[in-house]
């Protein structure tokens, strides 16, 4: 696959994005530039519109106003270049299928309409499962997975797409320590390959450890950029309001 990543410095540009649910603005006039190859966390309080932002960037919700460009082009033109990992809890895990089948869904975009997944797609899916340490579970019904295993399966499904941009919605929510480690390792590997990673993240303590860029969001974009410049106590206070005592510890120490 051709890689537009090498030719264009900004993976994702969001301009003047406003999204409303039933007249209530969820995102207000948000601007965001994600440099190609960045590992960006989207951080903000509950109801700040974090998930909505990546859904709008994916075209899953339609904005009231604003524009989204991917590698400088309209999003529709580069759909296969963005892999999306939805919130684990948004899915019906009782669905009658197995792990390999779910991961194979990541290849459906390449296969296109009507045709079925074949041996090549099966091998791709198995390789992605191995990357997340789940190769032993390929024939396991998804109803029998733990929360951490579910998350790994969703990550493997995104890996199979071989995309340039990865958008993950709360991948660390309620997963065990080994899974968190495994996800971080996979994201690091992707970043080393020059892929762009955007993660809705809730744990302020690990922002500086896991990411190099951050967006502080509370309906409006408070600030965004490299973690060491943007992830400051001042900005956290602007984003989260009160409760600064707890937050202050997680801000970057300019030591």
């Amino acid at each position: 696959m051709s890689s537009p990543a090498e030719s264009y410095p900004t993976a994702l540009e969001v301009e003047d994005l406003t999204v409303a649910y039933a007249d209530q603005p969820v995102l207000w006039d948000v601007d965001l530039h994600v440099p190609t190859g960045a590992k960006m966390a989207i951080v903000g309080p509950n109801g700040a519109g974090k998930s909505t932002l990546i859904k709008a960037a994916m075209g899953l919700v339609s904005p009231v106003a604003g524009e989204v460009r991917v590698f400088g082009r309209a999003r529709e033109a580069v759909r296969g270049d963005i892999a999306y990992v939805p919130q684990r809890s948004s899915l019906e895990w009782d669905f009658p299928t197995d792990v390999l089948d779910v991961v194979t869904m990541g290849t459906y975009g390449q296969i296109g309409w009507f045709r079925r997944a074949g041996a090549q797609q099966r091998d791709q899916a198995l390789a992605a499962l191995a990357t997340v340490g789940m190769e032993a579970y390929s024939s396991r019904p998804i109803a029998q997975l733990s929360g951490g295993q579910q998350q790994r399966v969703l990550l493997a499904r995104a890996l199979v797409q071989g995309a340039e941009i990865y958008m993950l919605d709360e991948p660390f929510q309620g997963v065990d320590a080994p899974t968190e480690r495994a996800i971080v390792d996979v994201l690091d590997t992707l970043a080393d390959e020059g892929k762009t990673i955007i993660v809705v993240h809730h744990d302020l303590q690990t922002v500086a450890e896991y990411f190099d860029h951050v967006l502080l969001l509370n309906v409006r974009a408070i600030d965004s950029g490299p973690v060491d410049q943007v992830f400051t106590e001042e900005n956290l206070r602007l984003t989260f309001g009160g409760r600064v005592g707890v937050l202050a510890q997680s801000a970057v120490n300019e030591a």
Binding site: A22, K55, M58, G59, L60, R79, G80, I82, A83, Y84, P86, S90, L91, E92, F95, P96, T97, D98, D101, V102, M105, Y108, G109, I111, W113, F114, R116, A117, P141, A143, R157, Q161, D176, A177, P178
Partner: protein
């Protein structure tokens, strides 16, 4: 009566079987998408179409009646969709509203038709509960053709429908038009319902859609077998109902089919391995005796805290047994911990927590209130 010699029975059984297969296969997706009520709304909404088709053409030819039924059934799904997207009324309430309005309109039209001084109108009310005995050869041919088309489309769009049912947002992110797929799947559901109008009728049709899928879901963990099994259950119930109503005098076919389906669903909910209520009840009992991993891991972690400088220091199984409750299966728990990579048996037979295990233990302690050790 003999199945192989009685012409009427063969026609009725064939029609009911075709209906059962189509409704069962397509209904599986309605069940998985938690849209069971959609079938109910569509089938009730077919009634005004049946009446209007007769009023406008003066004909009771099944094909014309079917077209009328399909049009208002389809219109009902469009109205439901419009209500959901343009207002804050939730999906199930929208279904309820549309079902009541369309069905009420259908009953009004039906009453109006019956008051007409014209003998041709007789029999339209049989579409309420179906009248399988009146099926003709050409009706079954139409039903079979429609069923074959619906099932062919289902097979062609198999992976797309699976995506739609499991993770619609992901499908959109891959570039598939999920709203168009939703329209096609709903359209196929309308076809399945139209097939069943003469046999089962608009009132009981939703059972043909929901019951086979709900029963099949209990027996398998894969989509393919589930859909095939649902089609088989639907076929068996259809043929079974046809045969039963031909053997027992004055037993109506449609309601009998639905009764057979109800029994299959009840048995599946209770006794299916894995998901059945009876099996689940037994498993819960066994779970209560399963080894608890957390306590043993935490004991191991507590012991390792005495050797800060050497967290890999080993500890004997006997020590852990004295720390654990009397009926705890310590060796079993240790083996399970090792297989999960949380604990490690050293060459000298002693046990130590791994780095991972110590972190998990710390987490477990935090979960329980973090009183520490």
């Amino acid at each position: 009566m003999d199945f192989f010699t009685d012409y009427t029975l063969r026609i009725v059984a064939l029609g009911s079987g075709v209906l059962g297969a189509t409704a069962g296969a397509l209904g599986s997706f309605a069940v998985l998408r938690r849209q069971s009520l959609l079938g109910d709304a569509v089938s009730h909404s077919a009634l005004p179409g049946i009446a209007l088709a007769f009023l406008l053409t003066g004909s009771k030819t099944p094909l014309i009646i079917m077209i009328g039924a399909a049009l208002t059934g389809w219109l009902a799904t469009l109205v439901v969709r419009a209500i959901v997207t343009r207002s804050r009324v939730p999906f199930d309430s929208a279904l309820g509203i549309v079902l009541a309005v369309f069905f009420g309109l259908g009953l009004v039209l039906l009453t109006y038709i019956q008051k007409q001084p014209n003998a041709a109108q007789a029999g339209l009310e049989s579409y309420l509960f179906g009248q399988a005995a009146a099926l003709l050869r050409q009706d079954v041919v139409v039903m079979a053709a429609l069923g074959a088309v619906a099932l062919t489309i289902l097979t062609m769009l198999w992976k797309e429908f699976k995506l739609l049912s499991f993770d619609e947002a992901f499908g959109v992110s891959l570039g598939f038009s999920m709203s168009r797929l939703d329209g096609v799947l709903t359209g196929l559901l309308v076809v399945a319902i139209v097939i069943g109008l003469q046999t089962v009728g608009v009132v009981l049709m939703s059972a043909m859609i929901v019951a086979p899928g709900a029963a099949a879901r209990q027996w398998t963990r894969r989509l393919g077998p589930m859909v095939v099994l649902a089609a088989a259950i639907g076929t068996a119930a259809g043929v079974g109902g046809a045969v039963a109503s031909s053997v027992v005098p004055r037993l109506p076919t449609g309601p009998t089919i639905v009764m057979i389906l109800s029994v299959v669903v009840a048995v599946s909910l209770l006794f299916a391995p894995g998901r059945g209520l009876v099996g689940r009840w037994f498993r819960l009992g066994r779970l209560r005796q399963a080894p608890q991993l957390d306590p043993v891991l935490i004991h191991l972690y507590a012991l390792s805290l005495h050797h800060e400088d050497d967290p890999g220091h080993g500890h004997g199984e006997a020590v852990l047994r004295t720390m654990s409750s009397r009926d705890a299966d310590v060796p079993g728990a240790l083996a399970a911990l090792q297989s999960k990579g949380l604990a490690l048996q050293l060459p000298d037979g002693l046990w130590a927590p791994t780095e991972l295990g110590r972190r998990e233990a710390r987490r477990a302690l935090e979960r329980e209130g973090g009183e520490g050790l």
